[in-house]
């Protein structure tokens, strides 16, 4: 009975979806707003521009307020998860991790951190940015938990980084509000395109986001692996 009902719902929705999608042109051209973004991506006169990576340009400058909300949602999820996991006994491991895992972690962990930092520092030039970089850093923390069963992560350090980076994001936005008249205004100018120090506040904000996401997800890993 349940299967038939589900099939009817899925079929109806599928027909509707097919009807809608068949009316959307595929692979024809850019929308009007995207044309504006692409045309103004690298231009000395426009304060919004200067990044090689147009996606980063949109995410951090045009939709910077949305990104602030996104970071807040991630923070709320991490907080909610630690609330649910508070006082919960985690699983006891019966065997030690193998020698390969232990030695390999010692060798590879600094490089994972380096890759994470590289990805969020070069967010305005290459694919990547704050969120993937932070996730890669958290992967390194998870690897440490897998190799050392009784490792205790520095909880207060994560909280300090998280809080100060969140504040710094808002402060950068407020400086833009004072200097340029709008929240997250690019007050540093475009700079020389293609260089590491360019694109105004995008690298600053992406370093802030990368550290914040890295600390947040590391705290999330800590909550799931440790007895709180």
């Amino acid at each position: 009975m349940r299967h038939i009902f589900a099939l009817i719902v899925v079929g109806t929705l599928g027909l509707g979806l097919f009807y809608t999608l068949s009316h959307i042109p595929f692979g024809k051209g850019l929308s009007e707003v995207s044309k504006y973004y692409v045309e103004n991506a690298i231009d000395k006169n426009d304060p919004h521009a200067g990044a090689t990576n147009i996606v980063t340009d949109i995410v951090v400058l045009y939709r910077g307020f949305d990104t602030l909300g996104e970071v807040t949602v991630l923070f709320l999820a991490a907080t909610g998860l630690s609330v649910f996991f508070f006082g919960l006994k985690k699983k006891e491991y019966t065997c030690e991790p193998s020698l390969i895992v232990k030695r390999g972690t010692g060798i590879i962990f600094p490089f994972i951190l380096l890759l994470g930092v590289y990805i969020f520092v070069h967010g305005h030039l290459t694919p990547g940015g704050g969120f993937p970089g932070g996730v890669i850093i958290a992967t390194g923390v998870l690897l440490i938990y897998l190799c050392c069963r009784d490792y205790k992560a520095p909880h207060s350090l994560f909280k300090v980084i998280e809080g100060s980076m969140g504040t710094l994001f808002v402060i950068v936005g407020l400086i833009g509000l004072i200097v340029g008249g709008s929240f997250l205004f690019n007050f540093l100018g475009a700079g020389k395109t293609g260089e590491l120090v360019s694109a105004g506040i995008i690298p600053i904000l992406y370093i802030v986001i990368g550290l914040k996401v890295g600390a947040e997800l590391s705290g999330l890993v800590k909550d799931t692996m440790e007895d709180v």
Partner: protein, 114 residues
């Protein structure tokens, strides 16, 4: 067009999983399927035939700007992060539900029935 079919198919498979299963972990897997399907559809909206990624890394690209639509990619970047947050929170809820009830099957929860 194949991207629309793949994305819509993933969305519908996820919805079917969500409707049929009563196991909480499987329902969250269904949610993940739906999320991925929607992301693929949104990315496919921005596809333009014969153009490259929206990263102006060469002189030729800066002059010509033959790139695909960057806006759907920016939106999906946001959606992926939110998806991770939702999945993590949902799984933590499942853990605490299991500790309380001793079962992941929603049909065994009599308090949800009327």
């Amino acid at each position: 067009m194949i991207y629309y079919i793949a994305g819509g198919g993933l969305f519908l498979i996820g919805l079917y999983i969500l409707l049929v299963n009563r196991n909480l972990i499987k329902m969250i897997i269904g949610l993940g399927f739906m999320e991925t399907g929607v992301n693929i559809i949104i990315i496919a909206f921005g596809y333009v035939k014969g153009k490259t990624a929206p990263i102006l890394s060469t002189k030729e690209l800066i002059n010509n700007r033959q790139v695909v639509d960057p806006l759907p990619q920016a939106l999906v970047l946001t959606a992926i992060v939110i998806g991770v947050a939702v999945t993590a929170l949902a799984l933590s809820m499942v853990v605490s539900y299991y500790k309380k009830r001793g079962s992941l099957n929603l049909s065994k929860n009599k308090e949800l029935k009327w």
